[in-house]
Symmetry: C2
Subunit: 154 residues, 2 copies
Protein backbone atom coordinates (compact mmCIF):
# COMPACT_ATOMS: atom_id res chain seq x y z
CA UNK A 1 0.00 0.00 0.00
CA UNK A 2 1.57 3.28 -1.07
CA UNK A 3 1.78 6.21 1.30
CA UNK A 4 -0.79 8.95 1.58
CA UNK A 5 0.16 12.51 2.44
CA UNK A 6 -0.29 12.20 6.19
CA UNK A 7 1.84 9.08 6.28
CA UNK A 8 4.50 10.73 4.20
CA UNK A 9 4.55 13.65 6.58
CA UNK A 10 4.97 11.34 9.56
CA UNK A 11 7.78 9.35 7.98
CA UNK A 12 9.50 12.63 7.31
CA UNK A 13 9.06 13.75 10.90
CA UNK A 14 10.54 10.55 12.25
CA UNK A 15 13.39 10.71 9.75
CA UNK A 16 14.16 14.31 10.66
CA UNK A 17 14.23 13.43 14.34
CA UNK A 18 16.67 10.56 14.06
CA UNK A 19 18.95 12.09 11.47
CA UNK A 20 19.39 14.89 13.98
CA UNK A 21 21.25 12.34 16.11
CA UNK A 22 23.43 11.15 13.26
CA UNK A 23 21.38 8.37 11.72
CA UNK A 24 21.41 7.85 7.98
CA UNK A 25 18.38 9.30 6.26
CA UNK A 26 17.35 6.00 4.68
CA UNK A 27 17.74 4.17 8.00
CA UNK A 28 15.41 6.63 9.70
CA UNK A 29 12.85 6.66 6.90
CA UNK A 30 12.60 2.89 6.95
CA UNK A 31 12.06 2.99 10.70
CA UNK A 32 9.32 5.58 10.39
CA UNK A 33 7.57 3.68 7.63
CA UNK A 34 7.72 0.38 9.50
CA UNK A 35 5.98 2.11 12.40
CA UNK A 36 2.86 2.96 10.41
CA UNK A 37 2.77 0.89 7.22
CA UNK A 38 -0.15 -1.42 6.54
CA UNK A 39 0.23 -4.29 6.86
CA UNK A 40 3.04 -4.28 9.40
CA UNK A 41 4.99 -6.81 7.33
CA UNK A 42 6.68 -5.49 4.22
CA UNK A 43 9.07 -6.84 1.62
CA UNK A 44 12.25 -5.03 0.66
CA UNK A 45 10.80 -4.28 -2.76
CA UNK A 46 7.70 -2.68 -1.24
CA UNK A 47 9.76 -0.53 1.07
CA UNK A 48 12.06 0.54 -1.74
CA UNK A 49 9.07 1.39 -3.91
CA UNK A 50 7.13 3.27 -1.22
CA UNK A 51 10.09 5.31 -0.01
CA UNK A 52 11.76 5.78 -3.38
CA UNK A 53 15.01 4.15 -2.29
CA UNK A 54 17.23 1.78 -4.21
CA UNK A 55 17.16 -1.94 -3.49
CA UNK A 56 20.74 -1.85 -2.26
CA UNK A 57 20.06 0.88 0.26
CA UNK A 58 17.04 -0.94 1.65
CA UNK A 59 19.00 -4.17 1.97
CA UNK A 60 21.85 -2.47 3.83
CA UNK A 61 19.83 -0.30 6.18
CA UNK A 62 17.31 -3.01 6.91
CA UNK A 63 20.14 -5.29 7.97
CA UNK A 64 21.31 -2.57 10.32
CA UNK A 65 17.86 -2.48 11.90
CA UNK A 66 17.83 -6.25 12.27
CA UNK A 67 21.24 -6.28 13.92
CA UNK A 68 20.15 -3.59 16.35
CA UNK A 69 17.16 -5.76 17.23
CA UNK A 70 14.54 -3.26 16.10
CA UNK A 71 13.30 -5.27 13.13
CA UNK A 72 12.71 -8.96 12.56
CA UNK A 73 12.17 -10.99 9.42
CA UNK A 74 9.14 -13.15 8.96
CA UNK A 75 9.25 -16.26 6.82
CA UNK A 76 6.03 -17.05 5.09
CA UNK A 77 5.84 -20.68 4.01
CA UNK A 78 5.30 -21.11 0.33
CA UNK A 79 6.38 -17.55 -0.37
CA UNK A 80 9.88 -16.80 -1.42
CA UNK A 81 9.80 -13.17 -0.39
CA UNK A 82 11.06 -12.30 3.03
CA UNK A 83 8.94 -9.89 5.05
CA UNK A 84 10.21 -7.44 7.62
CA UNK A 85 8.42 -5.82 10.53
CA UNK A 86 9.10 -3.81 13.65
CA UNK A 87 9.62 -6.17 16.55
CA UNK A 88 7.07 -6.20 19.30
CA UNK A 89 8.65 -4.43 22.26
CA UNK A 90 11.34 -2.99 20.01
CA UNK A 91 11.38 0.31 21.87
CA UNK A 92 11.70 -1.36 25.24
CA UNK A 93 14.57 -3.49 23.99
CA UNK A 94 16.49 -0.39 22.99
CA UNK A 95 16.17 0.99 26.51
CA UNK A 96 17.22 -2.29 28.05
CA UNK A 97 20.34 -2.35 25.91
CA UNK A 98 21.40 0.98 27.38
CA UNK A 99 22.95 -0.97 30.23
CA UNK A 100 25.76 -2.05 27.92
CA UNK A 101 26.63 1.53 27.11
CA UNK A 102 26.55 2.44 30.77
CA UNK A 103 29.05 -0.31 31.46
CA UNK A 104 31.23 0.89 28.61
CA UNK A 105 31.27 4.35 30.20
CA UNK A 106 32.32 2.79 33.48
CA UNK A 107 35.17 0.99 31.74
CA UNK A 108 36.22 4.26 30.15
CA UNK A 109 36.36 5.93 33.56
CA UNK A 110 38.32 3.09 35.14
CA UNK A 111 40.80 3.16 32.26
CA UNK A 112 41.64 6.65 33.46
CA UNK A 113 42.93 5.47 36.83
CA UNK A 114 46.50 5.42 35.56
CA UNK A 115 46.37 9.04 34.45
CA UNK A 116 44.26 10.53 37.24
CA UNK A 117 45.10 14.22 37.45
CA UNK A 118 46.24 15.64 40.80
CA UNK A 119 44.21 18.76 40.05
CA UNK A 120 40.48 18.05 40.20
CA UNK A 121 40.59 14.26 39.75
CA UNK A 122 36.79 14.20 39.92
CA UNK A 123 36.85 15.07 36.24
CA UNK A 124 37.44 11.35 35.77
CA UNK A 125 36.08 9.79 38.96
CA UNK A 126 32.67 11.45 38.63
CA UNK A 127 32.18 9.56 35.41
CA UNK A 128 32.93 6.28 37.15
CA UNK A 129 30.56 7.06 40.02
CA UNK A 130 27.87 7.97 37.55
CA UNK A 131 28.28 4.72 35.63
CA UNK A 132 28.20 2.71 38.86
CA UNK A 133 25.03 4.44 39.96
CA UNK A 134 23.24 3.70 36.71
CA UNK A 135 24.56 0.16 36.54
CA UNK A 136 22.82 -0.39 39.89
CA UNK A 137 19.62 1.51 39.11
CA UNK A 138 19.03 0.33 35.57
CA UNK A 139 17.99 -3.30 36.11
CA UNK A 140 15.21 -2.53 38.64
CA UNK A 141 14.11 0.36 36.46
CA UNK A 142 13.81 -2.00 33.50
CA UNK A 143 11.79 -4.41 35.63
CA UNK A 144 9.38 -1.68 36.60
CA UNK A 145 9.16 -0.67 32.97
CA UNK A 146 8.21 -4.09 31.64
CA UNK A 147 5.86 -4.67 34.57
CA UNK A 148 4.07 -1.38 34.14
CA UNK A 149 3.81 -1.55 30.37
CA UNK A 150 3.31 -5.31 30.49
CA UNK A 151 2.98 -5.90 26.81
CA UNK A 152 5.76 -8.45 27.23
CA UNK A 153 9.02 -7.79 25.36
CA UNK A 154 9.62 -10.35 22.60
Amino acid sequence: MPMDDAQHAYVDRVATFFTMFGSARAWAEILGWLMICEPAEQTQAQIAEDLGLSAGTVSTQLRAHVQLGMVEQVRVRGDRTQRYRLRSGAWYAVMASELERIRALGDLARAGDGVLPRDRPERVTELGDLADFFAREWPPLMERMTAELEKGPA
Copy 2:
Protein backbone atom coordinates in the same frame (compact mmCIF):
# COMPACT_ATOMS: atom_id res chain seq x y z
CA MET B 1 52.23 20.68 30.18
CA PRO B 2 52.61 18.40 27.16
CA MET B 3 51.20 14.91 27.14
CA ASP B 4 53.11 11.85 28.17
CA ASP B 5 52.51 8.47 26.56
CA ALA B 6 49.93 7.25 29.06
CA GLN B 7 47.96 10.44 28.72
CA HIS B 8 48.11 10.27 24.97
CA ALA B 9 46.81 6.71 25.10
CA TYR B 10 43.89 7.76 27.30
CA VAL B 11 42.94 10.70 25.12
CA ASP B 12 42.93 8.32 22.21
CA ARG B 13 40.71 5.86 24.06
CA VAL B 14 38.18 8.53 24.94
CA ALA B 15 38.27 9.89 21.39
CA THR B 16 37.74 6.43 19.92
CA PHE B 17 34.78 5.85 22.22
CA PHE B 18 32.92 9.02 21.37
CA THR B 19 33.68 9.05 17.65
CA MET B 20 32.00 5.65 17.64
CA PHE B 21 28.77 7.53 18.38
CA GLY B 22 29.31 10.10 15.66
CA SER B 23 31.29 12.81 17.41
CA ALA B 24 33.98 14.69 15.53
CA ARG B 25 37.47 13.45 16.30
CA ALA B 26 38.71 16.84 17.48
CA TRP B 27 35.66 17.32 19.70
CA ALA B 28 36.30 14.01 21.41
CA GLU B 29 40.04 14.54 21.80
CA ILE B 30 39.49 17.88 23.46
CA LEU B 31 37.05 16.27 25.87
CA GLY B 32 39.50 13.51 26.75
CA TRP B 33 42.33 15.94 27.27
CA LEU B 34 40.26 18.26 29.45
CA MET B 35 39.50 15.25 31.67
CA ILE B 36 43.13 14.64 32.58
CA CYS B 37 45.22 17.69 31.70
CA GLU B 38 47.19 19.49 34.38
CA PRO B 39 46.19 22.02 35.40
CA ALA B 40 42.51 21.61 34.68
CA GLU B 41 42.36 25.07 33.10
CA GLN B 42 43.87 25.37 29.64
CA THR B 43 44.06 28.05 26.96
CA GLN B 44 43.04 27.40 23.39
CA ALA B 45 46.67 27.73 22.30
CA GLN B 46 47.79 25.09 24.82
CA ILE B 47 45.10 22.65 23.71
CA ALA B 48 45.94 23.20 20.05
CA GLU B 49 49.62 22.67 20.76
CA ASP B 50 49.17 19.58 22.94
CA LEU B 51 46.73 17.84 20.60
CA GLY B 52 48.29 19.00 17.34
CA LEU B 53 45.13 20.72 16.15
CA SER B 54 44.73 24.03 14.37
CA ALA B 55 43.56 27.11 16.26
CA GLY B 56 40.38 27.23 14.20
CA THR B 57 39.39 23.69 15.04
CA VAL B 58 39.95 24.24 18.75
CA SER B 59 37.90 27.42 18.70
CA THR B 60 34.99 25.73 16.93
CA GLN B 61 34.89 22.48 18.89
CA LEU B 62 35.48 24.18 22.21
CA ARG B 63 32.47 26.37 21.56
CA ALA B 64 30.44 23.24 20.91
CA HIS B 65 31.49 21.90 24.32
CA VAL B 66 30.56 25.17 26.00
CA GLN B 67 27.13 25.23 24.36
CA LEU B 68 26.49 21.66 25.47
CA GLY B 69 27.35 22.72 29.02
CA MET B 70 30.32 20.38 29.37
CA VAL B 71 32.98 23.09 29.44
CA GLU B 72 33.15 26.53 31.03
CA GLN B 73 35.48 29.45 30.51
CA VAL B 74 37.42 31.00 33.33
CA ARG B 75 38.50 34.61 33.35
CA VAL B 76 41.77 35.31 35.07
CA ARG B 77 42.21 38.95 36.03
CA GLY B 78 45.39 40.46 34.75
CA ASP B 79 45.66 37.87 32.05
CA ARG B 80 44.14 38.45 28.68
CA THR B 81 43.97 34.78 27.72
CA GLN B 82 40.76 32.89 28.35
CA ARG B 83 41.04 29.50 30.07
CA TYR B 84 38.71 26.55 29.60
CA ARG B 85 37.95 23.62 31.88
CA LEU B 86 35.53 20.76 32.30
CA ARG B 87 32.58 21.88 34.40
CA SER B 88 32.17 20.35 37.81
CA GLY B 89 29.26 17.95 37.57
CA ALA B 90 29.46 18.01 33.80
CA TRP B 91 28.64 14.31 33.52
CA TYR B 92 25.61 14.58 35.77
CA ALA B 93 24.30 17.52 33.77
CA VAL B 94 24.36 15.43 30.62
CA MET B 95 22.20 12.79 32.27
CA ALA B 96 19.79 15.37 33.61
CA SER B 97 19.33 16.81 30.14
CA GLU B 98 18.15 13.41 28.88
CA LEU B 99 14.67 14.38 30.06
CA GLU B 100 14.36 16.76 27.14
CA ARG B 101 15.07 13.99 24.66
CA ILE B 102 12.55 11.73 26.39
CA ARG B 103 9.91 14.41 26.00
CA ALA B 104 10.83 14.82 22.33
CA LEU B 105 10.29 11.08 21.86
CA GLY B 106 6.88 11.42 23.47
CA ASP B 107 6.00 14.22 21.07
CA LEU B 108 7.11 12.07 18.18
CA ALA B 109 4.82 9.26 19.30
CA ARG B 110 1.82 11.57 19.78
CA ALA B 111 2.41 13.05 16.34
CA GLY B 112 1.65 9.57 15.03
CA ASP B 113 -1.92 9.58 16.36
CA GLY B 114 -3.27 10.73 13.02
CA VAL B 115 -1.68 7.87 11.12
CA LEU B 116 -2.12 5.10 13.67
CA PRO B 117 -2.13 1.80 11.76
CA ARG B 118 -5.05 -0.57 12.19
CA ASP B 119 -2.61 -3.48 12.12
CA ARG B 120 -0.47 -3.55 15.28
CA PRO B 121 -0.94 0.07 16.37
CA GLU B 122 1.35 -0.62 19.33
CA ARG B 123 4.22 0.04 16.94
CA VAL B 124 3.49 3.69 17.65
CA THR B 125 1.71 3.63 20.99
CA GLU B 126 4.45 1.67 22.74
CA LEU B 127 6.81 4.51 22.05
CA GLY B 128 4.42 6.93 23.71
CA ASP B 129 3.97 4.71 26.74
CA LEU B 130 7.71 4.35 27.04
CA ALA B 131 8.25 8.09 26.90
CA ASP B 132 5.54 8.67 29.51
CA PHE B 133 7.10 6.10 31.81
CA PHE B 134 10.53 7.70 31.62
CA ALA B 135 9.16 11.21 31.91
CA ARG B 136 7.69 10.11 35.24
CA GLU B 137 10.70 8.13 36.46
CA TRP B 138 13.49 10.42 35.39
CA PRO B 139 13.09 13.32 37.85
CA PRO B 140 13.15 11.14 41.00
CA LEU B 141 16.02 9.17 39.51
CA MET B 142 17.98 12.38 39.01
CA GLU B 143 17.24 13.37 42.59
CA ARG B 144 18.59 10.09 43.88
CA MET B 145 21.61 10.53 41.67
CA THR B 146 22.58 13.96 42.94
CA ALA B 147 21.82 12.93 46.52
CA GLU B 148 23.90 9.80 46.34
CA LEU B 149 26.83 11.33 44.51
CA GLU B 150 26.34 14.64 46.34
CA LYS B 151 29.22 16.53 44.80
CA GLY B 152 26.64 19.18 43.92
CA PRO B 153 26.00 19.87 40.23
CA ALA B 154 27.25 23.29 39.21
